[in-house]
Amino acid sequence: MEEISVQKACPDACIGERQNSISSGGKNKSAIHCTDDSLAGSVSQRACVFCGARVVLNPVTDAVHLVHGPIGCATYTWDIRGSLSSGSEMYRSSFSTDMKERDVVFGGEKKLVAAIDEIVEKYHPPAIFVYATCVSGMIGDDIIAVSKAASARYGIDVIPVESSGFISGNKVVGYRSAAEALMKLITPKDKGTVEKTRKLNFLGEYNLGGETWLIRNYLAEIGIEVNVAFTGDSTVAALKLAPGACLNIVQCTGSMHWVAVNLEKTFGTPFISVNFFGAGNTAESLRRIAVFYDDPEITRRTEALIAREMDRIQPVLQRYRKKLAGKRAAIYVGGAYKAVAIIRQLKELGMEIVLTGTQTGKKEEYDDISGMLGADAVVIDDANPAELEKFLLEKHVDVMAGGVKERVLAYKLGIGFVDHNHDRKECLAGFEGAVTFAHEVYVTTCSPVWKQLKRTLAPEVC
């Protein structure tokens, strides 16, 4: 195994090659190794490229999401989002070409054409996203040509998403494929233009548990209209109006930073970062948006909303803080923006964060994370279950915030768990969401079930 020089403060990895992906908190800023393909055999918790593309595009409610591959790819990503819709429920169906051995041998393009024909005839969708999978990519089915021909035939947007799993060991590459598909969808055809408005686009917001609606209401209250969210509760028609916004606010940077940069390049729309998880973050984000609009009335309304909401929720959060202060927490989530938000929220509840990791964080984001944590805390990129298990035990963690794969691990180790995954249906954003989150942390951290773990029938303890 390769010799790796490591700072003494760094906790040990289970696999030598992973040592540089593990760092510690504090201001020492030892550069963490991140954004790379996962190490083969390390049991990464990242999803595949196709899945990455699918989670970004799936909330487009009235589009058909057609998976060109064997049935498994469509089955395992069927309705895996907690995104709610105010209109069409089309996105909650999973369409697949159901490739069989025959198609693998003789090619699947004909089947894809037939599937598109059938979908158009039966459902008349305004757009179809055609996802490439490992198999269709490997046998070389030309989904670009098929999509182009279908677009011409039916006069609708049939957009290929190049998301074959083998193109990368990082689902972020799938985010990019989805982002490219979105750019294709919203760029006006035949040199057309979209008239500019005073509205904003909300990028990297997926309407989990109605979060888009909540923030939309806050913004409406301060006098700002949301043009369209990317992609929570969006429609094809609404997305096509995206170039008309005067501002893009970006929440999930992992999936949408590239889109924001391209929207600025193509349509001249500036962007700012926002984060609506946690009361403090929500207040700051609203103020940042108000500063952009530079309108005294908007500023006045923003301050009024923040003051009212803070007054309302602070006493409730204080009650939870009394129960949770001093408890030790771990975080392992997909995107770094989410980790940063959770760290802040848990700290506001008086908790100590002893472990933080993400699947797709970038270097600057890890610098921010390290800066928020104490020197004893572990910072980790693209962790595997063995590492999580080791640090959860070493750091005597009381509660973990994570995604769907971490739940069972936490429970088996006798640790509380809060779901912050992309398939949840609880609204955790905004001021209301901050209270819901605190409640969920409290319920699992202070549950009476943990007492039962310490009891036993074994004679030596009785």
């Binding site: 591959g69 064997p70 049935i71 498994g72 790819c73 490739m99 069989k100 051995e101 198609d103 693998v104 999978t133 490992c134 198999v135 490997m138 046998i139 799993g165 083998f166 298990e389 429970y411 088996k412 180790l413 006798g414 773990l453 310490k454 036993t456």
Partner: protein
């Protein structure tokens, strides 16, 4: 170590047997494999293939006389089911090798100490010794027959194909097969359990008799459940599985014919879209199937009793058996309760009764 292939490795043509042959596998360690591209068959195909691989890679004859022991291949069932099957054969006093066996592995207790390799499951030594057993009971043709046939072909272990022991009759068949093969007497404890099922069927028959049911899921489960609902006097109206295989239709038609039931629809390699269309054409009173049925159940306002794989939206079920007499009691309770809950919910005030 068990190796599965994927769509990708199959499409690029990785030659697993050769790769394994060339690998340096340490003495006393084993690597087995099965080809499982998603574009062939269903999850049952892959399951059946891996059980067969256990036999083809691990089973080894001693060359001597067959031992007075039984192999049981339990099929694609929960750890709670495997535990129950184990309990029944233990009650019968027959030395049994059961594989695969997820009991005490997937349902191992939480003791605040994590065990990577819990105590349960079949050992390599046991699976090796399966070649020396006198018979193999294969529960569920789709999941278990291939492995049992290989044991018979390769080592002369008599294969006894049976349905999954879900329901009164299939459980009877399971116990009687063991009784007949080994010439043993069935313990009073099992006779007692059977009697309780019969007693309950009589106490509750008017709750469900004549009701129409749609059944879907994995083929072995669906076949056994069809037999159970016929036993209960219900009418299996729509019977559907997503797994391909002509045998499914043959088995179901046989059951329907014996019961004199006409006008039912049966389909292998079908999907829930189709089932939904059938139900829209003519409604049923109950759906038996997996969590995926909840959309139809809600759309058509029909009660759903969750049974089979996967159940994603309810807990505890992996620990609770549906096989054997105890499992049969549980299914009768669930079916009966589902229908009675409906009645309590929907009936007029004057029909709302304390005793049902």
């Amino acid at each position: 170590m068990a190796v599965h292939t994927t769509c990708l490795s199959e499409t690029i043509g990785d030659d697993l047997p050769n790769i394994l042959k060339q690998s340096e596998i340490p003495e006393g360690r084993h690597v087995i494999h099965v080809n499982t591209p998603s574009y062939q068959g269903s999850h049952i195909t892959g399951f059946s293939g891996m059980v067969k691989a256990m036999v083809s890679y691990l089973a080894q004859s001693d060359g001597g006389e067959k031992k007075d022991q039984l192999n049981v291949i339990p099929g694609f069932v929960n750890p709670g089911d495997m535990r129950e099957i184990r309990r029944i054969v233990t009650e019968l006093g027959v030395k049994t090798i059961m594989f695969p066996d997820t009991s005490n592995v997937l349902d191992s207790p939480l003791t605040s100490k994590y065990e990577m390799y819990p105590e349960g499951g079949a050992t390599i030594a046991e699976i090796r010794d399966s070649a020396n057993s006198s018979a193999t009971i294969a529960l569920g043709a789709f999941a278990s027959n291939d492995a049992a046939e290989l044991l018979q072909e390769k080592f002369g272990v008599t294969g006894i194909p049976l349905k999954l022991p879900i329901g009164l009759k299939a459980t009877d068949d399971f116990i009687m097969a063991i009784k007949n093969w080994f010439g043993i007497t069935v313990q009073k404890s099992l006779t007692l359990e059977r009697g309780q099922v019969v007693d309950t069927l009589i106490d509750t028959h008017f709750h469900y008799q004549g009701k129409k049911v749609a059944i879907f899921g994995d083929p072995d489960h669906v076949i056994a459940l069809t037999e159970l609902v016929i036993t209960m006097g219900m009418v299996p109206k729509y019977i559907l599985t997503g797994t391909p295989g002509k045998q499914f239709d043959v088995e179901i038609q046989k059951l329907l014919k014996e019961a004199g039931i006409e006008g039912s629809r049966v389909k292998a390699e079908g999907d829930l879209f189709e089932l939904h269309q059938w139900i829209k054409e003519e409604k049923v009173d109950l759906i038996l199937g997996t969590t995926y049925g909840k959309y139809i159940a809600r759309a058509e306002d029909i009660p759903l009793v969750r049974v089979g794989f996967p159940i994603l939206d309810r807990a505890v079920h992996p620990l609770m058996p549906v096989v054997g007499y105890r499992g049969c009691l549980r299914l009768i309770e669930q079916i009966s309760n589902a229908l009675l809950e409906r009645r309590d919910r929907d009936c007029l005030d004057e029909d709302f009764e304390l005793v049902l």
